[in-house]
């Protein structure tokens, strides 16, 4: 079981990985602790400085589209953000999020606003998002199988350390 609480930071549709962190920054370093000062600068130059530990990114459709570069996920984590809630995710971003223990919560985000206080819960395969300002409880498609195992262990590194290989789930 995973439970997180935090403040909503609102973005729109099609936030691509180049917008999350641009290639020209990544060219200089892949150290996420350095890169986090430029998180999402192309979309909102003031964002990185305003991020607080525990903030939750809330977006529209197709979050993380474009390049498969994984720093887009590690930079978000380095900024203290542990979950992204979006209407939908690009598949490479979804994979990278799971593999690094960032929760990609898919649900209807249309009523969530900047600053709302949120909770994200993963109980077994069941995912729920609560918005306390709107008194909303939202649910998304379940997260199951090896994906859930990886997420619960905190990513593919701890998973590989524990198992040495990928283990097919009993279906």
């Amino acid at each position: 079981m995973i439970k997180l609480e935090g403040r909503a930071r609102r973005f729109g549709d099609n936030v691509n990985t180049d917008y999350i962190i641009t290639s020209t920054r990544k060219r200089e370093t892949i150290d996420e602790q350095v890169l986090k000062q430029w998180l999402l600068e192309t979309v909102d130059p003031a964002f990185a400085a305003s991020v607080r530990e525990g903030d939750i990114i809330v977006a529209g459709q197709n979050f993380g589209c474009g390049s498969a570069m994984e720093v887009a996920v590690t930079v978000i984590l380095a900024a203290g953000i542990r979950a992204v809630i979006a209407q939908s995710f690009s598949r490479t971003f979804f994979r990278n999020a799971i593999n690094n223990g960032l929760i990609p919560a898919q649900c209807d985000t249309s009523r969530i606003e900047e600053g709302d206080s949120l909770a994200v819960q993963l109980v077994g395969a069941e995912l729920t998002v609560s918005d306390f300002n709107k008194e909303l409880t939202l649910s998304g498609p379940p997260i199951s199988g090896v994906i859930l195992d990886i997420l619960e262990l905190g990513g593919l590194v701890p998973y590989m350390k524990a198992h040495r290989r990928l283990i097919p789930m009993k279906q």
Binding site: D18, Y19, E70, N96, V146, I150, L156, V157, K161, R164
Partner: protein, 423 residues
């Protein structure tokens, strides 16, 4: 056994059991690709995972394409790290100037029909043109795959794309791809695979099919797979290393969506800034001034692309318009050698084109020419996001090599079908 798509067949074979769309499978991979942008991080993951050896060094390939050549000590250090890792574990490195990762895998004959390829580059989907399941993943996935030879996969649904009709003169595979991006939208193929069908497929060479598969990522497709036919065998002849196992879809396989595109009625297309799906018929963009024309990338950096661009440039006057910078970057050394041998490169140089080192070039602003503030760039690439080429105040338009060539001669977005553009 129920009817299956190409994707379901390949992933079933790699999972060692019959799997269907929606299931999560652990699959054995045939080939793992890393680039200089993604591999340094993959090596970090490999070490953190406690990796001690590669599952099969002959199935791991690293290519230095994004920083070709490295523009700083930092990027040169990325290269050194990967070289050192590859030397230690026995994997192959394609160094600076050799080409773009998945392009090299295809040229080296390692992209075989029926196989499963994962690459830490979203455009790995390009080589699905060779009737295989090729998909982009992140660095952690290739790290785990380098150790185990495995990857986790959610078995995707497939979208059936049928190409019909007759291909008209100056209709580029890029126009077909852009029209599909417009129709399907930036996430319309999310968690799905495009599987191509139809009589018009045979009108496209293997390299041209790669252009169509390449842009599937701009619809968020997981893969984009063509059937295997005579063109596939011809491409593989003299290249292939290993056995191919061509895969066809079953007659009544299930598709999540079916799209038919009639080529007879398709005209050239342009993607306007700053989204690849912001696609219009070229007539709506004609006349827009351009200050830089970029011919290159894993979309438009192959032999035929340069031939078409040069022919169109010549038809439109045969000189670079004043104030236009023409930048040319071949996708691989094989391409560069071919256009050098046939004299194409020399003609571009005589026109005043800037010819850069083989690789990704200016595509994502990591090596190559960066546009100035306020510049309009017309490019054969696949992405026109803001800041993509390294300057957030430039605007990038995407079109076919022919449209790019014609526009380089006029200084304005020009329809390549116009016989001789008015200047």
């Amino acid at each position: 056994m129920s009817a299956r798509t190409i994707s379901e067949k390949i992933l079933s074979a790699k999972a060692g059991r019959e799997v269907h769309a929606g299931e999560i499978a652990i699959c054995n991979v045939d080939q793992v690709l890393g680039t200089d942008a993604s591999s340094p991080m993959a090596i970090d993951y490999f070490e953190k995972m406690g990796g001690e050896r590669l599952f099969d060094p002959s199935r791991v390939l690293f290519a230095f394409d994004h920083y070709s050549p490295p523009g700083s000590g930092k990027t040169a250090a990325f290269h050194d790290r990967v070289r050192e890792f590859a030397r230690h574990y026995g994997a192959e490195v394609c160094d600076v100037g050799e080409g773009i990762s998945f392009q090299l895998l295809a040229e080296h004959g390692g992209a075989l029909p029926g196989s499963l390829v994962i690459g830490a580059d979203s455009h790995t989907v390009t080589i699905g043109a060779l009737n295989l399941f090729a998909t982009g993943v992140g660095s952690s996935d290739i790290a785990a795959a380098m150790i185990t030879g495995q990857v986790w996969m959610r078995v995707p649904q497939s979208i059936k794309v049928t190409l019909t009709g007759t291909r008209t003169a100056y209709l580029s595979p890029k126009d077909v791809a852009l029209e599909l991006v417009r129709t399907i939208g930036p996430e319309g193929a999310n968690y799905s695979v495009l599987e191509f069908h139809g009589s018009a497929i045979s009108a496209f060479t293997l390299e041209e099919r790669m252009v169509i598969s390449n842009l599937a990522v701009e619809m968020d497709a997981k893969a984009a797979i063509f059937p295997s036919d005579a063109a596939t065998s011809e491409y593989l002849a003299g290249r292939k290393v290993g056995l191919d196992a061509p895969v066809r879809a079953d007659m009544n396989a299930r598709y999540v969506r079916e799209i038919t595109l009639d080529l007879s009625r398709l005209s050239p297309r342009v993607a306007l800034p700053h989204q690849p799906d912001n696609v219009v018929p070229i007539e709506q963009a004609v006349g827009t001034p351009v200050q830089m024309v970029f011919l290159g990338t894993c979309t438009g950096g192959r032999v035929r692309d340069f031939h078409e661009a040069l022919a169109a440039l010549n038809r439109a006057g045969g000189r670079l318009a004043a104030g236009v910078q023409l930048v040319l970057t071949p996708a691989s050394r094989e391409v560069a050698d071919a256009i050098r041998d046939d004299g194409t490169l020399e003609k571009f140089e005589a026109l005043g084109a800037i010819v850069t080192e083989v690789g990704c070039g200016a595509c994502c602003g990591t090596s190559g020419v960066v546009p100035a503030d306020g510049m309009n760039v017309l490019s054969t690439a696949n992405r026109n996001f803001k800041a993509r080429m390294g300057n957030a105040s430039a605007s990038i338009y995407l079109a076919s090599p022919a449209a790019c060539g014609a526009s380089a001669a006029t200084g304005r977005i020009t329809d390549p079908r116009a016989e001789r553009a008015a200047r």
